[in-house]
Each structure stands twice: as C-alpha cells, then as structure tokens.
Symmetry: D2
Subunit: 368 residues, 4 copies
C-alpha cells in the first residue's frame, strides 16, 4: 500500500520561519470503510507516539488498507522544539502556560436547534451534514477576524482534519508512566483491542482535549436524538493512548503498540486482514476513581511503588527525604495510601514542592 | 493608627524552605464598619501593587481607620521568585502552566438548598452564616485527603482570608498597559472613586480569578433570594485593579493609586476622613466589547498606538517587520483595526509568533 | 544599488526544521574598497539591530557602494524564537546556558610559527594568507569529527563569513540601556563616526565575543611582527554596537543609527558619498573603569538614575523596596555610589535576587 | 559520634526570603587527623548526593571519627528550587546562564611572590599560612565593594568553607550516567577506594569547578617550590564524584557510595575503623581522551549503547528517528563511533537539536 506525504502550516515563529506538520495518507480501497486519523507528540516531550507511527506505517505499507488512514507525527513543532535545560518543555505554551491538549475547540453545538433543522435526513445524510458542520465551524474559528492564538491555531487545524475521520487516536505518554488509555464510556468495549493494560473510562464531556473535542458533539447529538425517539449511535471513536513515559524512544516497544492499533483497526474493518489483539490482562477504572496524590511536603523523592502493579493499602508509595531535618524523625517521611490502588504514573522529577502532583493511581480497578 | 504584622505559610520548596506571605493588619475602631482585604503581586512580575500598598499603609498609619484593613503584599512567593532570563516568569505555575489567578476555589454553592436551610435568618445572621460556610469550604479544600496542588494551596489560603472581608481589592498590572479596573456589573458605580481611567464591566460569573471567587457566591445567593421574593444586596465588593505595566516600580505614581483606594475606602465608610476621588475622565466598556487582537504573522513588532488613548479605525496600531522578506512589500506590514477603540495593553515583547496576543482594546467605550 | 539574497543553514530543530539565517549582499564596484560584514540579533531579545539593518539597506540601495557589504539580520534563529513567558529568552543557549556571544572560535594562532612561515610575503599577500588561514580554521572547526555544539555551529558559521570582511559590526542592545559602543583600543578614533554617545575602549584580548574573535588574531599578528621589526597595521575593524534597550523596535531611531553607520562607512571609503557624522558629544571609558554594581539585597527595585546622564557621587541610583520589612527602616533602601559615574544600563526586571547585576556604570569618563 | 547543625546564608530572593544551606559537623577526636568537607546538589537536579550524605551521616554516627567532617547537602537552594516544567532547571543560573559549577573563585595566587615571603616557614606553618591566605581571599571576594553576583556569592561561600578542609568531595551526577569520578593527576591512586568504576584523570588546572578551585593553588605552590628545590606535597585532596543519573534518588544505592567514601576516609585516617574498598574492576581515562559526541542532525533519539559498558567500534550508539523523512532512507539514522570506547553518559532528553551533546565516551580506557 503506498502513501502520500503533505504538510500543514500551523504557525510562524518570530523569525518568520514556518511551523509545519508532516502528514502521511494511506488511501483506502473501500469508500465505505471507516476513515482514521492518528496524531502523535502534541505534548512536546511525549515522543514515543512517533515511533509507534513509524512502526504502524511500516505495517500499513504491506496491509490491505480499506479505509483512509491519515497519520500526523510531530504534531506540535512549537512544543517539540521548546527546550528548557536538558528537557523538552512541551506540555504548555511557553508564553501563555496553556496546556497544548486543552486548546481544542468546544463546538457547543445547540443540538436541539441543529436537529430540528436536519431531522428529515436519513442517518447517512445526517452524519454527513453534521460532519460538514463541525469542519466548517473549525474553519470559521481559524478565520476569526481578531485572529486566533498560536495554541488554538495548532489545535483547531489538527481538529479540523480529525473531524473528517470516523476514528481518532491521539498518541501521548505520561511523565513516568505505565501504558494506559482514555476511553469514553460509550466505547469502552473496544479498549480490549489495544495492547494496553489499563483503561480509564471517562465521561462524555468536553474538557479541552482532542479526543473529547471529537466525540462530544456526536455524543450530544446522539443523546438528544434519543430524547426525540430516534436511535443514532455515536458516529465516531476517539481515544487518547498513553504509551509509557515521556522523553523515551523505544522502537521495539513501539512495535507492540503498532500491533495493538492494527488489531483495533482490524476489528473496525479499516484493514482487510484479521489481526488479533495481544493476550494480556486488561483492567478498567472510572475517572472518578482516578486519584491524584499531591506531595504533602517539599523535598527529595524516592519513588517506591512500581507503576502498573497493584499496591495494597499501607504499602510504600514513596519516601520524602529532607536533609535539613537530619537528626529528627522528619528526615525521612514514608508515604502510603489508605486504600488499594494501581499507581499509573508519577511525577518526572526527584524533587518536589509541597503540592506537586506526585502520583496518579487507579482505585476500584476491575477486570475488563 | 498602628498595625500588626504576621505571616502565612503557603507552601514549601524542594529544599524544605517555607514559602511565607507577610500580612499587615490595621484594626478598625468600629466593628460595624466594612472590613477590607487587599493583596498584591499574585502574578510575579506585577510588582507595582506592592508600592501602592506601601503608600497606602503610610496613609492608613495617620488615618482614622474604622473597619479592619488586612494588606497582603508579595502574595505569591513562588511566582515572584521565578526568574527566567532577566525577567520574572510569574504569570503561571512553572511546573503546570496554570495561571496563578485561575486557581481560586469555585464554591459551586447550591444556593437553593443552602437558602432553604437558612431562610429563617435575618439579613445579618444570614450574611454571617454564608460567610462562615464559604470560609469552612475553603478550609475543607485545603485539608483534602489527597492533598492540594501548590497553586490551589496558595490561592485558597488567600481566598479564605479574603472571604472574611466585605471589600476585596486584588492589585495587578497588565504587561505594557494603562491603568484599568475589572468591576462586576452590580458594583460599577463605585469605579469612579479609584484613580483609574478605564473600567471593564464584567459579568457576575466565576472564571477562576480572586475577585470572582469572592463575589460570585454572594451574587448567586442574592439572585436566588430575589426569585424567592426577598431582596438581599450582594454583601461584598471585589475588584481587580490593573495598575499600569509589569516589571515596573514607581513610588510617586503609587501615591496616586493609594489616594484612589483611600477615596474608595472613604466612600465605603472604612475610614473616618472624607477623601475625594481625583478629578479625571473615566470610561467604561463591557467585557464582551473588550477585544483581543492576535498577531496575524510572526515577526518583529513596532508598537505604535498609545495605550489609554482613542485610536480611530484605520490608524496605525503596530508594524510587523520581517527582514527575511526585505525586497518585497512584506518586509513591513502595518496593522490597523477596522473600528474605533482604546488600546489598553499590548504584549510585553517586541517579537511575536503568529497568533501571539498583540493588543487588547476596548470598543464601544462610554463615559462613566 | 541592487542586492542579492541568500540563506545560511545554521542548525536543525528536534522536529527536523532547518534553522536558516537570511543574508543580503550589496556587491561593491571597487575591489580595492574595504568589505563589510554587519549582523544583528545574535542575542534573541536584542531586536533593534534588525530595524537598523532595514534602514541601512534602504540607504545602501541608493548609495554608491564601493566595497562589498554583507548584512545578516535575525542572525540567531534559535535565540530569537526562544520564548519563556512573555519575553524572549535569547541571551544564552536554553540547553547549556552558554551565552550566544561567547561561542566564537578562539583561533589561538601561534603567530610566531605562522609568521616564520609567511614572513617573505608582502603586506597584501600576508593579509590574504592570514585571512585564508582564519577562514580555513573556522571550516575545520565546523567539520570536527566529533561534531560541534549548536552554539558553536551558529557562531563559527557567522564568524567564517565575518573573517572575509575588513570591517565587522555586531549590532546588539543592552537590557535597559543607552547607546554605547565596544571599541578595541587600537581603533577608538573611529568611534566618533557612529551616532553613539558612549564608547567603551576594550583590551585587544579574546573573551568569546564576535568582535574579539575577528580582531584578536590580526592584532596578535601585528604585535608579533612589531617585535620582528615590521610594521603591520591591524587589518580589520570590529565593533559591537549597543543600540539601546532590548525588546524594543523603533524605526525612526533606527534611521539615526543607520546614518551613523553610513558616516563610518563613508570615512572608511566603503561608500562613495561623503556622509558626515552627527554632531553630538561623545565620551569614552576604559573597560577597567566600567563597573558592575550588584544588588546588595533582594527586593523590588525602583530605578532612579537616568541612563546616559552623569550621576554625581551620592545621588540616588535606585531604591530597594522590601514590604516584608514594613514598619522598620529596612522597608526602603536607597542605593547610591561613592563616586561620579554615568549609568549605562540597568537590569531588565523590577525585582532582584541579592547579587543580581543591577547597573553597569562608566567611571573616569572622558570626552573623546 | 554526635554532630552539630548550623546554617549558612548564601543569598536572598526577590521577596526577601533568605537562601540558607544546612551544615552538619562531626567533630573529630584527633586534631592531627585530616579534616573533610563534603557537599552535594550544587547542580539542582543532581540530588542523589543528598541520599549519599544521608547514609554517610548514619555511618559516621556510629564511627570513630578522628578528623572533623563537615557535610553540606542541598548546597544550592536557588538551583534546587528552580523548576521549569516537570524538571529541575538547576544546572545554570536562570538569569545569567552561568553554570553553577563554574562560579568558584580563581585565586591566581602569585606563588612566586607568596613563597618568597613565606619560604622561611616549616611545612606545617607554611600550610597554615597558605590556607589562611586562601580563606581570606575568598572573604575579600565576598566583601567586594561593587557587590558580588548571586552565583559567586554561593560558590565562594562554599569554597571558603572547603578551603578549611584537607579533603574535599563534591557530589554530582551526570544527566543519564554511570558512576564516574573526576580525579586530579597527582591523586589518582586514591580513586581505588571509592565504589566507582570509572575515573577521569584531569589536569591540575583551574576550569571553574569546586574541586579545581581547591587543589589548584596548592598544586601551583607545590610545583613552584619544587623549582626552588623544596619538596612540598599537594596538601589537599579534592574530587568530584558523579554518582549516576540526575533526577533520581535511591537510598539503597546511596549506601554503596557511602561505603566507598568511608573506605576512602579510612585510608586517609579520618576515621579510626578500617573500611575496605569494594571489590570491583576500576578503569581510568585521561581527560584528553574523554570525547563529546554531538548530534549530527536534529531528531528523536533512541539511545542504544549501555552506559558503563565497552562499546566496540561500529556498534550501535543511538538511532535518530526523523518521521518527516518517512519514505526515505533518512527516516532512521543509526549512529556509531569509529573506535572502541566506554559510553559514560548521554543527554537527558529523547529529542535533540543538531549539535546537542549526545554522548560522552571514554577512549583509551585502561585498568587502574
């Protein structure tokens, strides 16, 4: 299967240099098959998604691709190139502080009004009309007469491409993290295709992220139509995959995640081959049970809990070392949690202020 | 009038050093008089409010202070001390990117339920009970079992103090800016006391800022009680004063703003003396008419429009210089706006990315 | 006079985007006339030199250009595009901290050996051979088998171009600064051509800056040849012009500095027209008398002394405001100096740590 | 063995908060025994030295301490607390960019003059006089009439304490690194006591680092006296220990390094017990053979070579992934070196600009 490469301008630097994002497109052979949009590296330090796209494209080259697949690695040139010291300061806009993954456009479609105007359409026509509406709204946002912030320009440019697809995968990583997946409630059955052990089941609300910006309008339309007595399944899937830790490239590991994505694409009919999901245990947790634990004091941190493994109540989570307190019992503070959990990620640095988000842990974990 | 000094711990650094905020308290002689809370420098580079508090305290020392006045300069030690190159990187948390002035607690009081439980109280008792509720809710937030972020800890600690007052002033500056004031719709008559020429009239909603965190619950309660047939004026005033440009201290100019605050305090009965507001023209603008203009291209910027002065449609706002385009007509792009406005502030740097927020301008300006 | 434009690749970002610098070349009509190299904006926030190059190129277009003039605005794309908060963090490499203007190559030519090999040449041939040697050494540095740091790659690429010229002007600014000039001891008579009131006369040593990297090898050769009984004037001029404050573009002011450069070029025979220097007082100071004054305590700073004007001993330099000390005499610390001076520049921010370089002042100033 | 704790003020923040460093002192029982100074965490992200000091103090508490031991963990509060995004930006002063470990004072003692004035003293008196001179020179630097930079204030304050000791250990880490040691040429026999497999043998010159600032003056004096026919051994030992990777605390691993330091202190007679060095292979390399390899292109990096293990010429060092080049043979560039080496450390981030220092490798490694 061959592909074409193009490029999208998403901004301009102070010197005038253009910021461009590379776009790869595999043209599917079946116009009825779902179309796919996959991006990586919107957070600048979360680079592993590029390796996964690399391995995935190598598999697609030899696959029977039925639906169009668009792949956008290196999706945030401003974030990726923003170094501060030895690390990439790529989580937020260096000027405004806004998280790059909270810049997507909240359509706030008045689905009641919109459906009243389009209820005569059949499902296929309705889907087409709604998609057209979403894409046009993104374009209008990009063309606003007072301009648009750098972050919105990037995000809405990507979002506009993604609205054209039926399946959207946004490849991220945590700071130090085991693999996990953000999955909207309505779609969590599909989480079992990916090679990812932990799934966070999130509400169908908009919080600013890519996945939400894609599925929320469709879910709202679906919900409203249900109140009008018409069943209309959410027409798109959108997931955020967290593929391990930031600042890390591993081409072998990327093969496994490429395989998981292939299995999912196979299950959805995007590729002609049958690709089976990896055999592994998979667990779920509702977002309300996903807890952030903040450092109760400032100090040096020894991280003790293993990410992705069950931690029983009272077992060592981390130690806070405070040399200024040497000679007192406050020199070493062992931290524990009062309930069973699975630590999913921890802070990237070994020193913290009081209040730094130290760990995120899943509680009330269940097998999928 | 004498004062007392104390200190509030708002965090801990990685080395264990405590972050403390100095607090000055003038004890009023009349328990019926309104109580006042004034803070400055929550954004680290916006230092002029400290100079204003300095001049204000000097005036209060010789004034007849009726209501308690609490003054909190240097309110954000983490932000103030965060240097990046030669400037203070104090607008957002350096770890998370969250704007320090969007960290205040959204009470989301269910005023219907709360009022049903307290409607038997008279106005004074109701005010006391609601204030007690708000303070307790802040304390509960601070005591959360999973900890609290560094930014929330700072903000909610300050907010808890501020809820104890009837009048809250939050002293900020713009980047490069003329003086202006954020004023909730219900309170804009009072804007004429301050020595500030431009007033932004904002909705009574919560957006994360200090002023909103203070007045929103009271305004919601007032609105709900009105639907129940009981008139209950919003019990607090809260303003954000933008006292010029960041990275600038001017002790003489601070005297003028201290005078404006004294005039306001006089009008509210906080001090016994009559202090008249400065004679000056004052103008208003609704937040919906306050426009952000984003750089349409990257480049070097020559700022042309004078802040605080009317700019007619089509007059020079700024020039974008692009040396890489020398020899073409794109080397110099003059920027103009298609309508009359008053430029209030512009970006701090002389070079921009495409999409940088270049100017904020008031449109549909009217005399107060 | 027409010009040609080209581009020099000086690096590559993490996304693979090329970093290019625009180069403009006016081809002179007289091969005997001196050749000129002018660059601007090596420090990212020091943008005004671009405006000066803009105005200078407009004058060159209508001038009788005898010697080749190469102009390199926007010379440091990595530094110019490095934002941190609202300002440009462009003084040092964000990864290593190395000052962009200390990255030039120290040739450390063994002039004794070199001259022993070339003493048979006449002055013109000697000049040609030495220039060829310097350019080749830069190229060898760029081609090093272990690679070269990003900062050296940029600096040595620029330096290699500059070695090809007889006159090198490096356009900078201070933080908040009046105009001043760095001038090597042997060349200070020429300082009177520029429209710059203050001249620092620097030793002929290498400290890492562009100007030094250019003139030092020639000066060392000249000195050595003098010991061998042969008079050989330093063959190149190299200056650093500090054209006011960073983060500021002013096209009108740029015209004056363009005029000063034209006057200098006229005096050197680079252009055919006679351009007279501006009439103004000009003062000098030896580098040993150029003093850095560091903040004796941390706090908020009110800058009082006017840059570029004489400050008598004991007159107000700055105030340090310390609100945490309100109620004591340490709340306001007036700073003065014990001798007469001319403050040339001060720190960019209005708050300082203890030890921050607060002011640079010229002492023992004399009229040129 | 009991200890005392004190605190050294090394600076002041913009809010006026004092920057203090904790100091622990074990008072030895034998005034003839060597005195020791150990500091950690001068680079803010290099935290593991604190853990080593923690374990070392626990051992000293039960040891027979003959010579005074002063321990200074958390030695750089400004660097340690300087966060930028999720990591600690602690390698250089955030305002000036100057590496915190290049701020030590270069005494530039004129040993010829000094010795001429003191040659009549016996060795012990000479040692005392020279030490007194070095300490006084540091104090004079701290008291300079034009103030002192924040970085020098910190460094020279620490250095002054260190000059009072006979043995100075400066605990650092690399970015991602195996353990290694900087050892001056004259002292490398002692490297075998530490639990550190790789030793860099450095010239006896001053380059700005703590260890050099301590031993250089003594070595210069020793060298000069040798020319005068008097043998005078270098009176101090000073080492920089690189204890693994930054942003990492491991208390178990710290025990091993504490043991190595105990073995060294035992060999030097600082403690009464015999502590044997760990049995392990130890290797050396001269600084001239320690090579920095810079990224030949920008891109994403997969680090392949194992740190601390021999890498034969041509074996995989790293891969550079360039998704923008997918479809060409430039998408994946394998990097190798043309000679055998031991990779000691690599860059901390998984993406690089062209020219980023990617690896440091030892060549011409020999067994100690």
């Amino acid at each position: 299967m061959s592909f074409t490469q193009s490029s999208l301008k998403v901004g301009e630097l102070a010197t005038g240099h253009e910021l461009n994002v590379p776009i790869f497109r595999f043209r599917g052979t079946d116009v009825e098959a779902p179309r796919v949009y996959i991006q990586a590296n919107v957070h600048g330090a979360e680079v592993q998604g590029n390796a996964v796209i690399y391995q995935l494209m190598q598999r697609l080259e030899t696959a029977n691709v039925l639906g169009d697949v668009v792949l956008v690695p290196l999706a945030n040139p401003l974030g990726i190139n923003q170094k501060s010291g030895e690390f990439t300061l790529g989580r937020f806009d260096p000027i405004t502080g806004v998280n790059w993954n909270r810049e997507y456009f909240d359509h706030k479609v008045d689905v009641e009004v919109w459906y009243a105007q389009h209820h005569h359409l059949d499902d296929a026509a309705l889907t087409h009309a709604f998609r057209t509406h979403l894409i046009a709204a993104c374009q209008a946002r990009l063309d606003g007469e007072w301009g648009i912030t750098s972050g919105h320009q990037l995000a809405v440019s990507l979002q506009k491409m993604a609205h054209d697809a039926d399946i959207v995968l946004d490849l991220h990583t945590g700071p130090k993290s085991c693999k996990h997946l953000y999955c909207p409630t309505y779609a969590y059955e599909l989480a079992k295709q990916f090679s990812i052990p932990y799934t966070l089941i999130i509400p169908n609300d908009f919080g600013g992220a890519m996945d939400e910006s894609i599925f929320c309008p469709w879910w709202q339309l679906s919900e409203h139509m249900a109140t009008q007595g018409r069943s209309f399944a959410v027409a798109v899937d959108a997931f955020t995959l967290e593929l391990g830790s930031q600042e890390h490239i591993d081409l072998e590991d990327a093969k496994q995640d490429a395989h998981g994505i292939m299995a999912y694409l196979s299950a959805k009919g995007v590729i002609g081959e049958q690709v089976l999901p990896a055999e592994m245990s998979r667990f779920g947790c509702y977002l309300k049970d996903y807890k952030k634990y903040h450092a109760p004091l400032g100090g040096m941190v020894e991280y003790k809990a293993t990410l992705g493994e069950k931690l029983s109540a009272g077992q060592p989570l981390a130690n806070i070392l405070r040399l200024d307190k040497y000679g007192s019992d406050q020199v070493l503070t062992p931290l524990t949690l009062p309930l069973d959990c699975v630590p999913i990620l921890h802070f990237a640095s070994a020193s913290v202020y009081q209040g730094t988000e130290l760990y995120k842990v899943m509680t009330n974990v269940f097998e999928l």
